[in-house]
Subunit: 466 residues, 4 copies
Amino acid sequence: MKNGIKIVTIGGGSSYTPELMEGLIKRYPELPIREIWLVDIPEGEEKLNIVGALAKRMWSATPYDVRIYLTLDRREALKDADFVTTQFRVGLLDARIIDERIPLSHGMLGQETNGAGGIFKAFRTIPVMKAIIDDMRELCPEAWLINFANPSGMVTEAVIKHFGWKKCIGLCNVPEIAMMREPAVIAQERKDMHYRFAGLNHFHWHKVFDSNGMDITRELIAHINDKDGGTPANIYQAEFPLELLYSTNLLPCGYHRYYYMKKEMLQHSLAEFAKGETRAEQMKNVEKTLFELYKDENLASKPAELEKRGGAYYSDAACTCIHAIHNDKKIHMVVSTVNKGALPCLAPDSIVEVSSILSATGAEPLAWGEMRAHEKGWLQLMKAMEECIIEAAITGDYGMALEAFTMNPLVDNGAEAKAVLDELFVAHENHLPQFAAKIRELKKQGVVPKDPVAAELIAQRNGGKI
Amino acid sequence: MKNGIKIVTIGGGSSYTPELMEGLIKRYPELPIREIWLVDIPEGEEKLNIVGALAKRMWSATPYDVRIYLTLDRREALKDADFVTTQFRVGLLDARIIDERIPLSHGMLGQETNGAGGIFKAFRTIPVMKAIIDDMRELCPEAWLINFANPSGMVTEAVIKHFGWKKCIGLCNVPEIAMMREPAVIAQERKDMHYRFAGLNHFHWHKVFDSNGMDITRELIAHINDKDGGTPANIYQAEFPLELLYSTNLLPCGYHRYYYMKKEMLQHSLAEFAKGETRAEQMKNVEKTLFELYKDENLASKPAELEKRGGAYYSDAACTCIHAIHNDKKIHMVVSTVNKGALPCLAPDSIVEVSSILSATGAEPLAWGEMRAHEKGWLQLMKAMEECIIEAAITGDYGMALEAFTMNPLVDNGAEAKAVLDELFVAHENHLPQFAAKIRELKKQGVVPKDPVAAELIAQRNGGKI
Amino acid sequence: MKNGIKIVTIGGGSSYTPELMEGLIKRYPELPIREIWLVDIPEGEEKLNIVGALAKRMWSATPYDVRIYLTLDRREALKDADFVTTQFRVGLLDARIIDERIPLSHGMLGQETNGAGGIFKAFRTIPVMKAIIDDMRELCPEAWLINFANPSGMVTEAVIKHFGWKKCIGLCNVPEIAMMREPAVIAQERKDMHYRFAGLNHFHWHKVFDSNGMDITRELIAHINDKDGGTPANIYQAEFPLELLYSTNLLPCGYHRYYYMKKEMLQHSLAEFAKGETRAEQMKNVEKTLFELYKDENLASKPAELEKRGGAYYSDAACTCIHAIHNDKKIHMVVSTVNKGALPCLAPDSIVEVSSILSATGAEPLAWGEMRAHEKGWLQLMKAMEECIIEAAITGDYGMALEAFTMNPLVDNGAEAKAVLDELFVAHENHLPQFAAKIRELKKQGVVPKDPVAAELIAQRNGGKI
Amino acid sequence: MKNGIKIVTIGGGSSYTPELMEGLIKRYPELPIREIWLVDIPEGEEKLNIVGALAKRMWSATPYDVRIYLTLDRREALKDADFVTTQFRVGLLDARIIDERIPLSHGMLGQETNGAGGIFKAFRTIPVMKAIIDDMRELCPEAWLINFANPSGMVTEAVIKHFGWKKCIGLCNVPEIAMMREPAVIAQERKDMHYRFAGLNHFHWHKVFDSNGMDITRELIAHINDKDGGTPANIYQAEFPLELLYSTNLLPCGYHRYYYMKKEMLQHSLAEFAKGETRAEQMKNVEKTLFELYKDENLASKPAELEKRGGAYYSDAACTCIHAIHNDKKIHMVVSTVNKGALPCLAPDSIVEVSSILSATGAEPLAWGEMRAHEKGWLQLMKAMEECIIEAAITGDYGMALEAFTMNPLVDNGAEAKAVLDELFVAHENHLPQFAAKIRELKKQGVVPKDPVAAELIAQRNGGKI
C-alpha cells in the first residue's frame, strides 16, 4: 500500500461499476487510491471496454490522480492488491435467464439467489472463487476480499470456511436499503435509530430502537406494506401478513416474501414468465439500455437509471466497507461474516449476515442472542441447505445437490423437482466442470431443457447445437 | 400395585382396544394384571359399550382373573392406576375429516399428524392431556403414562416438558412396522439385525446393521419402493427418489413421503378428496364396519380386519412397553422420550423419537451423534415448528399458530394458508376453548369453512346451525 | 426524567463516592442531572454524613444546580429514579477482614472476589440486591441499574437472570485500568489501539490490535511483568510465566495471578496475614485516613489518595456508562452483560464480561467466537462455580455452597476446606439469613472461627458475645 | 477371521497377561480363538518369555487348540489380526516411579493417570499408539483395538479423533470394580441393579436404580466410606465428605478422591514418598514377586496375588468386550467411546467414559442428559485439559504442555509447577522424541531432576550418565 491503495474489481465490466467509481471518488479525500484494476473475462471484454471508458471519464472529471486499468489478465491485476472486490456473474445474464425460466417452466420458483436458480448460481460461482483465492494466496496474500457476487452469503462461506481466506467480507444491499428508506416512513432520521440485523444473506430480520432505547419495531411493521418501505427494486411486493410479523416482532427482509407468501410470489413470477418478462429478461433489457448510455462519451458520472436495478447500493456498500477498514472507522454495517456465536443457534464457524462493527480488523459481529423458535427453525433449515449447496459446489456431488433441492422451501419436492434439477445441470453444462460426469450421464438419459427460451440460449452458446 | 397391576385406558371406546386386550392377554403370564378400566366421554359411550363388551368376552375366554370396568368417570378410573394409556381422539373421526378436507378444499395437504390437520389435532388434544395430568397428579402420582394419542411426539413433549410429568413414554407404530417388515425384504430375520432410529415422531430415519456389525442400510434402500416395504397402511406409497436416499444413507420413515415427494402426495390426496374419500372418510367407514363386527356376541378375539388400519400395532407397542417397564426388560424400543443429547442438534430437553433401552427406569435414549446437514436442517425446522404448535396449544396465542402454519412444509405460505388456518379455527370451535376469543373475532369477520362436507359436519354438531 | 435525571447511589457512604461525584460533574454538560440521592444503612450513617457533606461541597463548587440528598430511606430515594448505582458492601470492611483472615488462618487464600471470601461476599450481597430489585420494580420500573457491588459478575447474573431485571449493567475497573496503562508501555496512544476483552468478571482475557488491524498482543505480553503494566493496586504482582502467555496469545487480567501463580499469591497473602496486614486490614486503615481527609470542610474535590485504592475508576466507569446510555453514545466498554452467544462456550443467558457497545439500548456484546481449550476449560469451570454460588446464595442450600467450595481453584479441597466454609458461615451469621438453620446446626456442633482477629470482630459485633 | 479369531496383545509381557488368558479361556466356548500373539519390545523380552510360558501352560491345561506366539516383531503379529489389545507401559514401571517422585519431591501430587505423572504418561504413550495405528491401517484394517494402556481415555481420544481409527474401545476397571462390590454393600445382587455411569476416564460418576426403577444412589453414598466399597486397590481411601455427595446425588469414582480431598491425598502420598514407597515403587516389588511366581513351571493358572494390583479386572473387561463384539451381545458396559451427545456439555466428537451398549457395531453410549453445574464445570475443565495434553503429545508443543499443567487441579500453579514440568521433560527425554528440541534447551539451562531416586533411575538408563 506504499504510495496509495490498489483496488482490483473482478467482473469489472459489470453495469454496476459506475456506482463503485462514484463511491470511491466520493471517499477519495480519506482513501488515497493509487490505482484501480477492472478485470473481466474475454466474453465480457466489450462491456469492460465500454464501462471502463466511462470509469476513466469519471475519474478524469475529478482532481484526483488515480490510474484505471482494464484487463483480461486477472493475475496481473491481483499482484500486490490491497482490496479485491468481486462482482462477477458466471454465464452473465443469460445464465440467470436459464436459472429463472427452467424452474418456472415446471411451475416452480427460480429465484436467482435462494431458489433453484440461486443454487445453480452458487454451483457456477464457487469454483471460480476458488481459483481467485488460489491466485490471491500467491499474488496478494494480505489483501481484503470484498465479495458481492451472489449468492453472497454462500460464496463468502466457501471463501472463509472452505478456502481459508479469513480477510473476506460479504456484502448485500438489502439491509442498507432498509436503513435508508424506513426512517422516512415513520418521519424519523436514520441517525436517531438503532438498527440491529441478524440472519443469513437474503434471509435476515431486523429490529429497530429509537434514541431513547425504545423498541419501535412494531411501529415499522405497521408500514411494511407501504410503497417504498425498503424493499429492493427486484422483489415483487406481495403483502406481508401483519399478524405474523406482529407475533415475531421482527422486520423481515424483502426476500422473506418468497418464504412467507410463497404462493403469491410464485403466481407473480409465473405471470412474468408467461409474458417472457422474468426478472432476468427485464434486466437484460435494462442492462442493454445502460450500456447504451455508458457509451455516451459526454457522460462522466453514474446515470440515475442505475439505481432502478435491484443491485443498487451494493457498490456503495463496498466503498463504505473499504473506507471503514482502511481508516479504522469502527462503524455499524450489516455484512456476511463469521458467526462467532452472534447467532447461538448456528455453528460459530458459519457465515451469517449480522450487524457488525467494521474497523481495521474487519467485521466483528454483535451478539444477537437466542432466536425465537420460528426464526431459529427457518435459519437452521436454510443454513443446513446452504451447507449442502456449498459442499455440492465444491465436490460435484450430485446426491448432495439433490439433498439441497429437497430442502429448498421454494422448490416443490418430488419427481418434478428432480426434473428441474437435471435440466438445470444440462443447461449450465459449460459452467459446471465439477459435475461433468453426472451431466454426461443425464444427457445420455435424454435430459433436455424444455423451456424454449432457455433452449435457444443454450443453442446459441453452443454455436447452434443444443 | 398390591395384588396386581391396574391399567387405565383413556379413549377406551376406540376401535383399537381389542388389539390392546390381545396384547395384554398374550403377556399376562409375566404381567399380573388385576383390573383394566376403559374410560370414555359421553359422546363415545355407545362405542365404549360395544368394544367394552368385546373386551370382556376376550378376557372371559382366558383362564385369567382380570376385571374390566367401563366408565365415563375418568377420575374414578385413575385412582391408584399403575399404567395409564391414552388413545383418545378429541372430536372423533369427524374432526379428522374436517382436518383433512378444509386444507384440501384450498389445494393444500391436511395430513392428520404433521400437516395443517396435525396442528389442529395438537390444539385439541394438548389441553385435554393437561386435564388428565392434573387428575393423575392427584389420583395416581406414581403411574406411568403410555401415550399414543397423536400427534404423539408433540403431545409427549407437552406432557413431559410443559406439564412436568416425567414418567411418560410416547409410542408410535411406524418404527415397529419397519422392523417387522424390512427383514423379509432382504431375506433376513429380525433377530440378526440392529436397528437404530433417530428423529421426531413421524419424522425419523433409521440405519440397519447386520450381526457382524456391517451397515446394510443401502441394501434396504434398494427395496424401499417395493410393496410391503414397511410403510403403514395409511400412507400412499409415492416412490422415493433412490439417489436422494443413497446420498443420505438413511432409511426415511413412511411419513417422509410428504416432505420428499410433496407434489405426488398432494395430488393423491386431492384425488381422494375429489371422490369424497379422504383417508378420514375411508376410516369412518372402516370403523363402522369394525364396530359392526365387534357387536357380534360370538366374537371373543381381535378381528383380522383391524390390522388394515394405519394405527395397527400401536396398542401392541403399548403392551411391550408396559411389559418392559414392569419386568425391567432392558429391551430396545423406538419411543418418544427426552432427548438428553441423543440428538445433539436438538435441545437436551426436547422430546425426540429414538432407539431407547426400555426398563424399570423407563426409556433411555441411545446417543446417535451429529446428524448430517440435510437431516439436521429438517429436524431443527420441524422441532421449532412443534415448539410453536405446543406453545400455541397451551396459551391460545393465534400469532404463534400462524407462525407454526408458516413454517409447516406441507402448507403453502401466503394469504390462502391463513384462510385455511382461520377456517379450521372456526370449524373446531367447540374443541378449542383456549382460542375462544380469537375464534369469535374470526366469526365476526365472516370466516366460514367452505368445504361442504366439513360445513355439514359442523352443522350437525351444532344442531343444524353453522 | 422530566426536568433532569435522578440518580440514586446505594451505599452512598462509600469512600468512593467522591470519584462518582467528580465523574458526574465532569459530564454534566451532557448529563442534565436534577438530583442525586446517597442512600445508606444506619450502620453507615456517620460515613454517609461525612462523604455526603463533601459531595455537597463538590457540587457547590460548580455552576450546576443539582440537589444532593442523604438518606437512610432506600424506598424514598428509589421513587422515580432514572439510574441506580449499587456500590455497597454488606458488613463493611470488617466482613472483608473475616473473609480474608479465616481462610488464611487455615493456610488458604481468602481473596475477596473469587476466592473463599468472594463466595461469602456473594452470599451476603445477593439477598440484599434481591430486596433492592423488589423495591425498584415497584418504585422505578424503568430505571437502569449500574452495579459495581462485588462480586460484580455474580451479582449481575443474579439480578438479570434470577431476579429478571434486564436493565442492569455490571461494572469493573480492571479492563479500564488495563486500557489506561498498557498503551504507554509500548509507547502508543489508546485511540490507536483496539481492545477486545472476553471472559468473566475478574477472570477475563484480552487481545489488542493496532490501527492497521495487526494483532499486537504478543508485544504487550512481553511487558506484562513491568511495573505499572495495568494491574489494579490491590493485586500482588507475582510474575506471569511468559511462555504460558505466549502460548495462549492472550493478555490475562490481574486476577489471573491467583490462578496461574496460586502458590506465589498464597505465600504473599500468608506473609501479609502473619503481619496483621491482609488487604482488608490495610484498606480499613486507608479508609480511615480517607474519611479524615473528607471531613476537611475546605475540601471540595476528590483527593488524590483515593486513586490508590484497588477500586479506583469503578465510579468513573459508572459515569461513562450512564453517559453512554443517556446520550446513546455507541461506545466500546467492557461490562458484565448477558452473553447472547458472544462466548459460545457458555450459555447464552449467562452473564459474561466482554467488550460491548454501550448505547441507549444498554450493552450489546461483541461476539468473540470459540475460545481455545485452555481458556474454555477455565471459563466453564468458573461459570459453573458461579452458578453454584448464586444458587446457594438465593436458596440457602448448604450442599450447593459445599459444591462451590470444592470447585474453587483457590480453595484446597478436603476436610479443612469444609472447616473454613463452616467457620465463615458462623462468622457471618448476621448477614446470612438464608442459611440460618444450617448455621444454628454448625454452632451446635461447636464450630467457632479460630482466627483471633476475626473472632474479636465477631465479638464486637455481637456486643461482646461470640 | 476364517478358521477362528486372531488376537494380538501389545505389551504382552505385562504381569496382567495371565488375567487376559484366564478371561479368554473362560469364554472360549463362544469365542473361537485360533491364535494369540503376545508382542513386546526388546527391553521387555525377559518378562515376555516368563509370562508367555505361563500363558502357554494355561492354554495347555485346557482342551482348546489355540496357538500362542511370543514375538518382538509387532508388524508380523498384527498381520490379519481381528482384535488388538494394548496394555503396554512406555518406560515400564521405572517411568512411573519418575512420574510420581519428581512432583512429590516438590510437594505436589504425581498421580500416574490424571496428575502430573499422567500427563507425561500420555506424552510417552500417544506417539507409540500412533505408530501402532499406522501399522494396523496397513496390516489389519478391519481389526478392533481394545485399549487399556493408560491414561485410557486420552489415548482412546487420540486414536479415534486424531488418528482416525474408529474401531477402538477404551477400557478401565474402575466402573467394573464398583459394580462388582457395591451390591453386597447394600445386600443386593448385581442383576437387580441398574448402573448408569457418565464422565471421563478416571473422572466419572454413577447413579444406581433398583429393579423397580427407584433411585438408590443415596443409599450407596451412605456406605461409600466403608471398607471394600468399590475403590480400586491403588487408591488411598481418604473419606469422602458425605454432605457433598448427598448434594450431588451421584457416586463419584475412586479417583475423585484426588479432586474432592486433594489435601488428604497429597499428605498420604507425601508420607509414602518419604518412605520410598510411592505406589510405583510398591508396584515394582509386587511385580517382581509376581514374575517369580510366574516362573514356577507347575503354575498353569492366574495366581490370586494378581488381584491385589490396582489394574485387576482390566483384562477381564477386555475379554467381555471382545466377546460382546464377536457375538453381538448387546450388553451394558462402561467404556471410553465417542460422546455423540451422551454428555451434552461436551463436544459430540470427544471421547467420554459412559454406560454403553456393546454389540457387533461396537459401543453405543446411552444419553445421560445435562449434568448439574458442579459436575459440568469439572468435566469441561478436565476435558479441556485432556485436549491440551493430547495436542501437546502429538505436536510436541511445550506451551501447550504448560497450559495443561496450569489447568491440572492436582498441580499447584506457579513457578514451581513449571520446575516440575521441566524436570519431568528432562527425566523422560528418551521417550519423548516429539519434545526433543525443547528438552535440549532445558538441559542447556541446567534443568536436572532433583529427586535422588529418579536421578539414579535416569543414570542407570543412560548407562551411568545423568
